[in-house]
């Protein structure tokens, strides 16, 4: 039985994970939700009585899955009966691979397209509609129980987007490709038409844990609930999240209500709360509670409770001097408040060129490091075989990384085995050793990787030209990497193609973080500087529930900060607007009367 020391978990966390029945846990920001989840998994693993039962944990990202798995391994629990990953991996591994044979579209095999590949494909299908300004961004869609729904699509573009999608789906079908949404659609259909699938799976799973439930979509709830409902007496459920942070409604995510959850799963759920925020100051907590859309209690409980937070709002600064204002705020926090640059984050809307901002800031503040999006010179396509090799080639061997790198190495051998290569002569350890011994005299990143790949494949005795899947992955890896490097270079980022820069991708976070508003989900910093808080951006102009979406975004942004929060609604003009018109500060922000600090 897994046990923990008194100081490892607080009372709220303990109550939730020791509850005998199913739990719906509403966790406020900074309340140690991931820790509770991790300990709950470890506890349930230790309670497993049969070697034939599994614990299923669904996380929002692969990184989260990997981090939780590593933490559980460090807690000393055997993870061989734990399956943890995203809902898409879950559907693929547990339902589409074993049961796809009952689906005429899948029975001859299928390939899952990653988000980059489907974006690139959509882009090509958008080309004929370029005059109508249709791009892949307009084509985000979700499948629903009855059909499909478009994401951020202006009404005028709808007919074009529908055409694009029709062509895109036809192409996928003809080539036996499926994208992430099709994974969900096929899974849902299989579960619906073949009750025996849910019935069988329900006998295999002793516990189902779902993290970040507020970002879960209808079909995802349906799939998980069908399984639980097939055997409600023997499956435990632990569902965690924060309805106030439900910022992916545009992609169909929503926080399910307790009653609906109970009806769908045919199970009784006990609501629990984690209301102690150990992250932020009392002043900050008071501030962001204003943006709540779900009524829960949040109490300041951490060491920053009494910190005198500076919370500022700047609605005057002009776009042309926005970067100077950000530089000023950075300098203020670093030099006057003594805050480490590593603990500062700049967030902006995702349709602003954050990489350009990053680059300009680097020029203006040459003594500091910046971590921005789109700075990685190659696609983070975690399913690409060569990306997987990259992870090992571009990281340094160290005791702290050993478990992780061994896992990566095993994953590579598993992939090779699955495509039919004979790997009986080697081992994960041997592969890691080969990789550590690589000495390549080459400064260009891609050239370096080409040599590294060919040497490593040679050491495994694999000729990639013999395997269609490997050739495809190889070409796609280099094509998308070259494209990214070209794009970055066009934006003036010239040092990006060096191997030194490549290695940074996997280095520990170092420097000031620059992220999209959606990208800061789950993170925390001493200081958060947010800009672009403008109506039409926050919320997005096509959002039908703009008021709530804006609240949730502001809630997420504000609750990332431990100490200080700076918000900027810079003055800028609407794009494509003739005659020029100014954008306005986000309504939710303007409508909130708060004693902002001057700084």
């Amino acid at each position: 039985m897994f046990v923990w020391d008194r100081d490892e978990l607080n009372g709220e966390q303990e109550a939730a994970i020791l509850a005998p029945g199913n739990v719906l846990l509403i966790a406020c920001p900074g309340s140690g939700k991931t820790r509770a989840l991790t300990y709950k998994i470890a506890l349930e693993l230790s309670k497993l009585k049969s070697k034939k039962k599994f614990i299923i944990a669904i996380t929002y990202t692969n990184n989260a899955a990997e981090e939780i798995k590593t933490r559980i391994e460090h807690l000393g629990e055997d993870t061989s009966q734990l399956w943890i990953g995203t809902i898409h991996s879950f559907c693929t591994e547990w339902i589409l691979r074993p049961y796809g044979l009952y689906d005429d579209a899948l029975k001859y095999g299928f390939k899952v397209l990653n988000s980059h590949e489907s974006e690139a494909l959509l882009d090509t299908f958008c080309a004929p509609y370029k005059v109508f300004k249709v791009s892949y961004y307009d084509c985000s869609y979700i499948f629903t129980k009855t059909g499909y729904a478009l994401g951020n699509c202006a009404a005028v573009k709808r007919p074009y987007v529908e055409d694009v999608l029709k062509n895109y789906w036809a192409y996928l079908k003809a080539n036996r490709f499926i994208d992430f949404e099709l994974i969900l659609k096929h899974t849902y259909e299989l579960i619906q038409t073949r009750p025996v699938i849910a019935k069988t799976l329900s006998k295999l799973f002793s516990y189902i844990l779902l993290d970040e439930f507020q970002d879960t979509k209808e079909l995802q709830y349906e799939v998980l609930a069908s399984i639980i409902a097939s055997n409600p007496k023997e499956i435990g459920s632990f569902i965690v999240g924060d309805p106030n942070q439900s910022i992916f409604t545009g992609l169909g995510g929503y926080a399910i209500a307790l009653e609906d959850l109970q009806n769908m799963t045919k199970s009784k759920f006990e609501p629990f709360e984690l209301s102690n925020n150990f992250r932020s100051s009392e002043r900050l907590i008071k501030y962001f509670q204003h943006y709540k859309t779900f009524p829960n209690t949040i109490l300041a409980a951490g060491k920053n409770k009494d910190y005198t937070s500076i919370i500022s709002l700047n609605q005057e600064v002009m776009k042309s001097v926005l970067e100077d204002e950000i530089v000023r705020l950075l300098a203020f926090n670093i030099t006057e408040k003594g805050i480490s640059p590593n603990e500062i984050c700049i967030v902006g809307p995702q349709w602003v060129h954050l990489s350009a901002l990053t680059r300009n800031l680097m020029v203006k503040m040459p003594d500091y490091n910046f971590n921005g999006p789109g700075m990685a010179p190659f696609a983070r396509d975690i399913d690409n075989f060569f990306y997987k090799i990259c992870r090992i080639v571009l990281t340094e061997p160290s005791p702290a990384m050993y478990i992780t790198r061994m896992r990566w190495s095993r994953e590579i051998l598993k992939d090779l085995h699955e495509i039919g290569s004979d790997i009986s002569g080697t081992s994960a350890k041997a592969f890691l050793r080969h990789s550590n011994l690589l000495r390549i005299d080459e400064t260009d990143g891609l050239a370096y990787l080409k040599i590294a790949f060919s040497e490593l494949l040679a050491s495994l005795g694999v000729d990639k030209s013999m395997y269609k899947a490997l050739t495809e992955d190889y070409n796609s890896f280099f094509a998308s990497s070259e494209q990214r490097i070209k794009k970055l270079a066009e934006q003036g980022d010239l040092g990006v193609s060096t191997i030194v820069n490549f290695r940074k991708v996997f280095k520990q976070r170092d420097g000031i973080t620059i992220s999209t508003m959606h990208g800061v989900k789950g993170l925390e910093f001493d200081v958060v500087i947010a800009f672009g808080l403008l109506e039409d951006w926050v919320p997005h102009f096509s959002d039908v529930d703009g008021e709530n979406s804006a609240k949730k975004l502001l809630y997420v942004i504000a609750s990332r900060a431990r100490l200080n929060l700076h918000m900027i609604s810079e003055r800028r003009e609407k794009r494509f607007s003739r005659p020029p018109r100014n954008m306005f500060s986000t309504n939710q922000l303007s409508g909130y009367v708060f004693g902002y600090d001057n700084c």
Binding site: S50, P98, Y102, K107, G420, K468
Partner: protein, 710 residues
């Protein structure tokens, strides 16, 4: 849950074979070399933890020999089908997840397949070939080695892998050069999820043929007693064991302190010092007693002592009789199986290879009548008739050896339940070796049973066994029950049916002058003829369309037809043993000599009846010589039921007859024939040419009639 079907394609001596099994006890019957061990090995590759690694280590020799050098590009397929699985039981969920053939609501079958196939790069290249591009195909497959192959497990398949069309669809059409890259998984199955480990889900025990049991007992790894003790030593209670461990330590100390042991130690030390000097001597030296105090090791030092039945002496295994040791070995293995059957397994399989070797026949039957564990499927291979008798005819698979491959038959396949019961009862009653036969001749009486083997032996110098024929006397039970086994669907072996037409030996037209007795006699003859005709019609209809059956009719009855075949000498010779009185003997001899069958036939039947049919056959048997003529309908039956005769066998028949002729001084030389025989032996001339030479040398000999029928 149980294994309901096994399909083997291109594996070892199976080109394409299907085996069907039921719950409980199943029997595999087959002669040596027919592939019983290969079948078991195929099952073990799939289910036995000890052999699983070999599922990844096939070699060229594992491909069926009919493929010869052309195995390259072909697949080996081993497919298991399981029945009676339940989706309601948690314990089977992983199994069903990986293998279950789910309908919408339920699952009742599961399949588990192993493909040994070219790796994906090769399959990709094959799929890219244009249709009919035989050169392209040759260019790819000629280069293949075993290193280009992989083992691939799938579950949930829905096709019959024994169907050649299925093989074409899955593997490819080598003639038309058509290869699929992505087979339809709904037909051929989906890859097994990596979480599933079937060998850990089930309990599986294999007991190999008992050939060298004593050496197995001497080897710790194969000693079944050790396995049992090991299982138990893991469960041993520490408190119970502590005092024993303590005593062992004391014991070791006491042994070490023995003065004699100390003496030896001192002597060693002194000798070393004397020979190499103080400088090079070891600094210390002691003799330690090492009786193990560890529970596992100590328990493993235990030995079994056994007394033979009705003896008072208890000895160790190697002192036991071979039969006794085998029995103990088998019993211990069965116990090990019982230990292994645990609550965590939902299926138990026990495979026993040829349990009869060296076990007394009486014990064999008892042993297997009593071997019946709940939730356990037992499959054993055997060539013992005693064991096969205790198995249900529906649970039998028969292996039949062919050149370079073997076939499998199920004797009760597609028979209605009622007929299976009848057949079962019949087989139980006659203790027949019917199921082991290569060819069968069914007869209806003791006379045929006694005389046919004798005639064949005397005339051809060979036994029916050597011709591969089992003679089955079905008495008066009718042929249908037995004959139905021999069928396209069931046992594909030849079976001839030998019966009498009972035609009247005299004119049955009644005339006014007939006495009452004559009238009755004529009526009886007519009635027999009529019923004989009816039987013939029914039998001809019964065998129509079945190439495995042939009816061979005696025109009258066996004795009459025998006599009519110029065998009057033999009959005449029996007269003094049948009758005692001179008058009767003389009369009988005159009757037999009569040309009219109404008279001679009536007499021979009267003699047979007088002496009781079976006894008369024994008497007649003494007078059979190599010159006795075998009635043609019996020759027909022999030729139909026999297996193919090699040139060597044919020559040995001929040699035998020549040697018999040489005993008669009149026939000293067959030089011309012998020369031809030599040519025939070398394969230089055909059988027809040999027959022509025989005709020249021995114009009227019946060997010619026999050979012409081949």
């Amino acid at each position: 849950m149980y294994i309901s079907k096994i399909s083997l394609v291109n594996y070892r001596n199976f080109k394409n074979a299907a085996f069907y099994f039921n719950k409980g006890i199943n029997t595999i019957i087959g002669e040596n070399g027919s592939g019983k061990t290969n079948l078991f090995r195929a099952i073990r590759l799939m289910l036995d933890d000890d052999l699983l690694k070999f599922a990844y280590k096939f070699t060229e020799a594992d491909f069926n020999r009919t493929l010869d050098k052309k195995w390259k590009g072909h697949w080996i397929i081993i497919s298991l089908e399981f029945s009676e699985i339940s989706a309601d039981e948690s314990i089977q969920a992983m199994f069903i997840h990986g293998l279950g053939n789910g309908e919408e609501e339920t699952v009742d079958k599961a399949t588990y397949n192993l493909f040994f196939r070219p790796k994906s790069d090769i399959r990709y290249r094959l799929s890219e070939l244009a249709e009919n591009d035989t050169e392209g195909l040759a260019a790819i497959v000629d280069q293949l080695t075993i290193a280009n192959y992989e083992s691939f497990f799938t579950g949930k398949s829905s096709v019959d892998f024994n169907d050649p069309e299925v093989y074409k669809e899955l593997v490819g059409d080598f003639d038309a050069v058509k290869f699929n890259l992505n087979p339809d998984t709904s037909l051929f199955g989906a890859r097994i999820p990596h979480q599933l480990s079937i060998s850990k889900d089930i309990s599986f025990t294999f007991i190999k043929a008992l050939r060298d049991v004593v050496s197995d007992f001497n080897n710790n790894r194969t000693n079944p007693l050790m396995s049992l003790l090991k299982i138990k030593s893991e469960l041993i209670n520490d408190a119970d064991y502590a005092p024993i461990a303590h005593q062992v330590k004391d014991l070791n100390a006491a042994i070490e302190q023995l003065p004699d042991v100390q003496d030896v130690r001192e002597n060693i030390k002194e000798t070393i010092k004397d020979t190499v000097g103080e400088t090079y001597s070891p600094s210390s030296l002691s003799i330690k007693s090492s009786v193990p105090d560890d529970a596992e090791k100590l328990l493993q030092s235990l030995k079994l002592f056994i007394g033979e039945p009705d003896e008072t002496y208890e000895g160790s295994i190697h002192e036991l009789s071979l039969g006794g040791a085998n029995l103990i070995f088998l019993t211990l293995k069965l116990l090990e199986f019982k230990y292994q059957r645990s609550a965590d397994n939902f299926a138990n399989f026990l495979l026993i290879e040829e349990p009869e070797a060296h076990i007394h026949t009486h014990i064999q039957k008892t042993l297997f009548d009593n071997l019946n564990y709940e939730d356990t499927q037992i499959i054993y291979s055997t060539h013992s008739t005693f064991i096969s008798e205790s198995s249900n005819i529906s649970n039998i698979n028969i292996l039949s050896k062919k050149v370079n491959y073997a076939e499998s038959f199920q004797p009760a396949n597609n028979l209605p339940e009622s007929k299976v019961h009848k057949l079962q009862r019949y087989l139980d009653a006659v203790r027949s070796n019917l199921l082991f036969a290569k060819g069968v001749m069914l007869i209806e009486g003791d006379a045929e049973a006694i005389l046919i083997p004798l005639m064949v032996k005397k005339v051809f110098g060979i036994s029916l066994d050597e011709l591969g024929i089992s003679l089955i006397n079905i008495g008066s039970t009718g042929f249908e029950n037995i004959a139905q086994i021999f069928h396209e669907d069931r046992v594909q072996r030849k079976c001839s049916i030998v019966t009498d037409l009972d035609q009247a030996i005299a004119d049955t037209t009644e005339i006014d002058t007939d006495t009452e007795a004559v009238k009755t006699y004529k009526k009886k003859l007519a009635a027999s003829e009529k019923s004989g005709k009816e039987r013939q019609e029914a039998l001809d209809l019964y065998i129509t369309g079945n190439i495995y059956l042939k009816a061979c009719y005696a025109d009258y009855t066996f004795e009459v037809d025998f006599m009519n075949q110029e065998n009057k000498i033999e009959i005449l010779n029996t007269i003094p043993e049948v009758y005692k009185e001179e008058d009767t003997i003389e009369l009988a001899a005159t009757d037999i000599g009569d040309e009219d069958i109404a008279i001679s036939g009536k007499r021979v039947l009267a003699m047979a009846k007088y002496a009781k049919k079976g006894w008369y056959a024994l008497i007649l048997g003494k007078h059979i010589t190599f010159k006795t003529n075998i009635p043609p309908y019996i020759l027909d039956a022999i030729v139909f039921s026999k297996t193919t005769l090699s040139r060597r066998t044919i020559l040995s028949l001929l040699d035998y007859r020549l040697s018999q002729y040489r005993k008669d001084a009149v026939h000293p030389e067959f030089l011309a024939l012998e020369l031809e025989m030599e040519k025939y032996g070398k394969g230089d001339i055909a059988l027809q040419a040999l027959i022509a030479s025989i005709h020249k040398a021995l114009p009227n000999d019946q060997i010619k009639d026999f050979l012409e029928r081949l």
